[in-house]
């Protein structure tokens, strides 16, 4: 199997401008990485097919790695050669070489569903699409990714949410749901069609809900994510300078990357707060709340509603870590009876590359998850 030689860009070097395009480190690497070396990834999700683990992350056609042991990874073919053509009809400015963000991989009834997002930095003209496959094993004759098109889109000026960062799951009653969102008015939960390829439209069954949000000043322009970083807006015209500065430095509305994990009668909603994508200057962190119903309300350890800014920190010791500055955009899986937090973390040194971390979760006696970094 050949490893693709992919040209990649780093987040750092672009000053204060957020860059949420490809954030992989250079992956011109030998077929098997040394055991101590962690692969570069952004926004990781995982699945197991047979004896092999697969991890998916942000990348031009969605980046894929495989492993037999969750430590040594080798590069797999990307899901797509490039972004599907229909995306440019919905988002006219989306580039032919644009990267697909924050995938989710979900196995249901013999089929793998790969959800992906396409967007533009600082704007919420975005789409979530889905592709299906019978297997993740690229050597299998049944291996073929089929793009199934759009699941949902967000429109600037219409929607106070951003259609990226999808996560799909079924509730305890077997109904399918998708959580998603980034900045703006927070994270959404929406009932999917039973075929998992679109949002439920029947007025008798459809359901939408905001499940997590952070303070957002009501006077902000609807096209502002909350960080005053939309390149299409003239902030000198929109706001007084101190307001623009405050937005750029504050954590107003900075929440994204939902992931719902069921355990012990609860739905745990994980989310990421604050700033990704700034290398060693990132402030990204994972928080959690829980609910007995999938539609919420999700309350944190202090009974604060995640829709009102609540959230309990999961990885609590980034400030003690010498190796890692920040990290987030997690998923959670159970392997061999143990639960793992799968996420990316930014190195505290060098170029602040984002790397894959898989850490065992400690559940305390109140049922709250924590992860402690060891380096």
């Amino acid at each position: 199997m050949t490893i693709r030689n992919v040209r990649a860009r780093q987040a750092l070097g672009l000053g204060r401008i957020l860059c949420v395009s490809v954030l992989l480190t250079c992956v011109a690497a030998p077929a098997a990485l040394a055991q101590a070396e962690l692969i570069g990834i952004h926004d990781p999700v995982m699945a197991k097919d047979g004896d092999t683990y697969y991890v998916f992350g942000t990348g031009r056609g969605v980046t894929v790695f495989s492993s037999q042991d969750r430590e040594n990874w080798e590069r797999e073919p990307s899901v797509f050669d490039g972004p599907p053509d229909w995306i440019r009809e919905v988002i006219p400015g989306f580039g032919r070489r644009g990267s697909l963000w924050a995938p989710d991989i979900y196995h249901h009834e013999e089929t793998y569903y790969l959800y992906y997002s396409a967007s533009q930095f600082g704007r919420n003209n975005s789409v979530i699409g889905v592709a299906t496959n019978a297997t993740l094993d690229s050597d299998s004759p049944d291996y073929r990714w089929v793009d199934r098109g759009m699941v949902v889109n967000s429109v600037a000026g219409r929607d106070m949410w951003n259609a990226i960062d999808a996560h799909v799951t079924h509730d305890a009653q077997g109904a399918p749901w998708m959580s998603f969102g980034s900045h703006w008015g927070g994270l959404k939960l929406v009932r999917l069609r039973d075929d998992l390829l679109g949002v439920e439209q029947d007025p008798a069954k459809r359901q939408w809900r905001t499940i997590a949000a952070r303070h957002r000043y009501w006077k902000l322009d609807e096209r502002d994510a909350g960080d005053s970083a939309n390149p299409e807006l003239d902030y000198d015209e929109l706001y007084a300078e101190p307001v623009t500065e405050l937005n750029r430095r504050s954590e107003s509305g900075a929440i994204e990357a939902p992931f719902i994990f069921r355990k012990n009668g609860y739905y745990y909603l994980f989310a990421s707060w604050d700033r990704c994508c700034r290398g060693a200057d990132s402030t990204y962190k994972v928080v959690v709340g829980r609910s007995e119903e999938i539609a919420g309300p999700y309350l944190d350890r202090a009974d604060q509603d995640l829709a009102w800014g609540g959230g309990t920190l999961v990885v609590a010791n980034f400030n003690e870590s010498e190796r890692w500055a920040a990290g987030g955009h997690n998923s959670v899986y159970t392997f061999d009876g143990k639960d793992y937090l799968v996420f990316h973390a930014y190195e505290a040194t060098g170029r602040g590359a984002s790397r894959l971390l898989i850490k065992e979760i400690d559940w305390d006696d109140q049922g709250w998850p924590t992860v402690t970094l060891s380096e």
Binding site: V155, G157, R158, G185, K188, R209, T210, A213, K219, W308
Partner: protein, 345 residues
């Protein structure tokens, strides 16, 4: 020929027409005035002189077909002030809110909304006709829709109170909204029956709303109470009229406000330059002793005079909780700076 002075006649304490109704929209066809109001199947009134109106009943006998797949069966309730409840089925003719009538390229368009009180599960549709005169051979309404739908938990707007506007190149816009995040504008397809693609949206007016309020909650006098938009073009400008709910000595009442812009897309600013998207709006008519609460206006021109039609609610001590609205028509006074006011005296 309609004389403006006739419409201005108003005996103290009584509306010019003595007509009960809400959310009026007016148009003239062949010397006859047609006024459409909220009510079962849209309530219609006609007048030959603009002063004496007679009720001629519902425009639509049946619910529009698109309603069955767009909204749940509980949609089509009357507003709460007229006994509507969000929990019961809408029996008989569907109660239709805030009609807006317009004529464009030889066709009459009647925009309307269907909703339930207190929630934003709503939709806006439009019906077309070649004539408004029920005796004409080609009188036949055709429904189109939904044009826009609002879903609780998805949308921070309410798809009610539609109004049509055009930019200087003739591109059509639908302006609508009530509470939540305020008044929205979306570009329409040139056939006026659907939104254009790719979709072009913006907010035109908004008032403070506490960010922690549940998305199912519409708002109140101190949270986002703006609705009933109407865009009027005059002297190269666009005026955005809207209705606010305000609190006055402990009692909620409505008032009509305005802002203006050189572009139909806004920003609309009031007399002191405040953008209507951050709470701006200057008083047009704010109620008087007999009618402390006024709202939901439209503007039309009769005999060369601009007129404001709106409803008023008495809310007097005698009437107690009587929320029945009455229709009022008054001339608009434009001051030297081009700002409109209306007197209820």
């Amino acid at each position: 020929m309609l004389v403006a002075a006739t419409l201005a006649v108003h005996a103290g304490g009584a509306s010019a027409q003595g007509v009960g109704g809400r959310d009026p929209s007016l148009i003239l066809q062949d010397g006859q005035w047609h006024m459409y109001c909220t009510g079962p199947g849209v309530q219609e009134f006609v007048s030959d002189d603009g002063t004496e109106y007679r009720a001629i009943g519902s425009v639509f006998d049946d619910a529009p077909e698109w309603l069955a797949t767009a909204l749940p069966p509980t949609a089509g309730q009357a507003p709460r002030s007229e006994g509507g409840s969000p929990d019961t089925q809408a029996g008989g003719a569907v109660h239709i809110w805030s009609p807006h009538v317009a004529r464009h390229d030889g066709t009459y368009y009647l925009f309307y909304s269907v909703s339930s009180p207190g929630g934003n599960e709503s939709a806006i549709g439009v019906a077309t006709n070649k004539t408004l005169k029920r005796d004409d051979d080609d009188y036949q309404w055709t429904h189109h829709g939904p044009i826009v739908t609002s879903i609780p938990g998805r949308d921070m707007y309410n798809a009610v109170d539609p109004c049509l506007a055009f930019d200087d190149d003739g591109a059509p816009m639908l302006v609508f909204g009530s509470f939540w995040s305020g008044v929205k504008q979306v570009r329409l397809h040139e056939d006026l029956t659907r939104v254009s693609r790719p979709e072009q949206w913006r907010t035109l007016a908004r008032r403070h709303r506490y960010w922690k309020l549940d998305e199912a909650y519409a708002g109140d006098w101190m949270n986002g109470a703006v609705e009933g938009p109407f865009v009027y073009g005059k002297d190269g400008r666009r005026y955005l009229f809207a209705t606010w709910k305000v609190s006055d000595r402990g009692r909620d009442r409505c008032a009509i406000v305005v802002g203006r812009s050189d572009d139909v897309r806004g920003p609309y600013r009031d007399r002191i330059g405040r953008d209507m998207r951050v709470g701006g709006g200057s008083n047009v008519v704010g109620g008087a002793a007999d009618w402390p609460s006024v709202g939901h206006c439209c503007v039309f021109t009769a005999g060369g005079r601009d007129m404001l039609a709106f409803h008023a609610i008495r809310n007097s001590v005698d009437n107690g909780n009587d929320q029945r609205a009455e229709l009022i028509v008054r001339p608009i006074e434009w001051d030297a700076s081009g700002w409109p006011t209306v007197s209820l005296e």
